[in-house]
Symmetry: C2
Subunit: 177 residues, 2 copies
DNA sequence: TTACCACCTGGGAATAACTACCAACTAAAA
DNA sequence: TTTTAGTTGGTAGTTATTCCCAGGTGGTAA
């Protein structure tokens, strides 16, 4: 109880259905148009069980929308991440960074300036303590990335989530003209 | 005590000096030639405080070795990682992967087949529980990647560390010719 | 139902971050 | 000093992703 657990198949099925149903409303709420491309991409993403890459989603969506472009897929996935409707599993994906310190430690990344700092996190090292297996998997290592906003970036007034705000469609009220 | 802690400057200084001093012996032990390029790269890496990218290390090494090639820098850094003399901070760097499941969860990556699985890790979620700050940093999120070898890959006899073994220079003993 | 327009899309070109290849070079064993 | 496996540098890919912009379209207001 309280230990690591894989998420069940059944849970996933219900979760996806709910998310798909709410998608249109969510877009409208955010001032985004509900285009066939966006719907196709969120569906492909929600029905995927393999954490697909952008090009894999592109290939799947193309079965229904042969004219969709790869650019649209990349752009839309990025938007979904900004909206909080998807997660990018790759961390620090803008090129590998190297660390000469090979003692056990973890990393703190400032989402503003992309600087990386070393940190010791004994709790993290104990995370999967005295386990060799996790289900059918042989445990090798456990990596932790703590995302923060450094003092410098906070003062510069960077948005605190690392998510760029999108422009809202102007609400056409009785005010003007 | 036992909580998150940044590694001290002083510690780093001594650590680097020791690692630099041991480097030659380590290479010989591994059957690797001690070339000026390798020495320059390990020095640049050990003296770096910023988790540099390969091209940054290239730029720094070039100040002393104007003829070194970027290819050598990439190759050498990769070797250092294989030898365990460096760490690559970027996880899953072969392209972003997307996840439609935005509930709090973490990822298990099989280093053999690169498949990604979702996992709930309440311990990880509690890791930085009831903290808003970590030193001068504002905490945003804490991401965990558990690296494993899945049953399938284990049976296929994949090397269990994700590190390719290097060919040893044959020990020229009295045996032949 | 129509008109409008800010938003959205597709396609090609550009970029960044590697990676492969191979001929020339060199560390180090003998 | 000789030999040679191991190493390097330069060039030419490749892969993943982003930029740009002309043309298309969802959604609001009339």
């Amino acid at each position: 109880m309280g230990g690591p657990a894989f998420l069940s198949k059944q849970w996933h099925v219900r979760y996806r259905a709910q998310r798909a149903a709410e998608f249109g409303a969510y877009c409208r709420e955010q001032g985004l148009a509900v285009t066939p491309q966006r719907v196709a991409i969120i569906r492909a993403l929600l029905s995927a069980e393999d954490h697909p890459r952008a090009d894999q989603i592109y290939a799947r969506v193309r079965r229904q929308h042969p004219h969709i472009s790869l650019t649209t897929v990349y752009r839309t996935l990025e938007q979904f991440c900004e909206m909080g409707q998807a997660r990018k599993v790759t961390l620090l994906h803008e090129g590998a960074r190297y660390d000469g310190n090979i003692t056990p430690h973890h990393h703190v990344l400032c989402v503003g300036c992309q600087r990386v700092f070393d940190i010791a996190l004994p709790e993290a090292d104990r995370l999967l303590h005295d386990r060799e297996r996790l289900g059918e998997f042989v445990l090798l290592r456990c990596l932790v990335e703590v995302q923060v906003l450094c003092g410098q970036c906070r003062r510069k007034g960077q948005n605190s989530t690392g998510v760029r705000p999108r422009r809202q469609r102007p609400v056409q009220s009785a005010a003007q003209s």
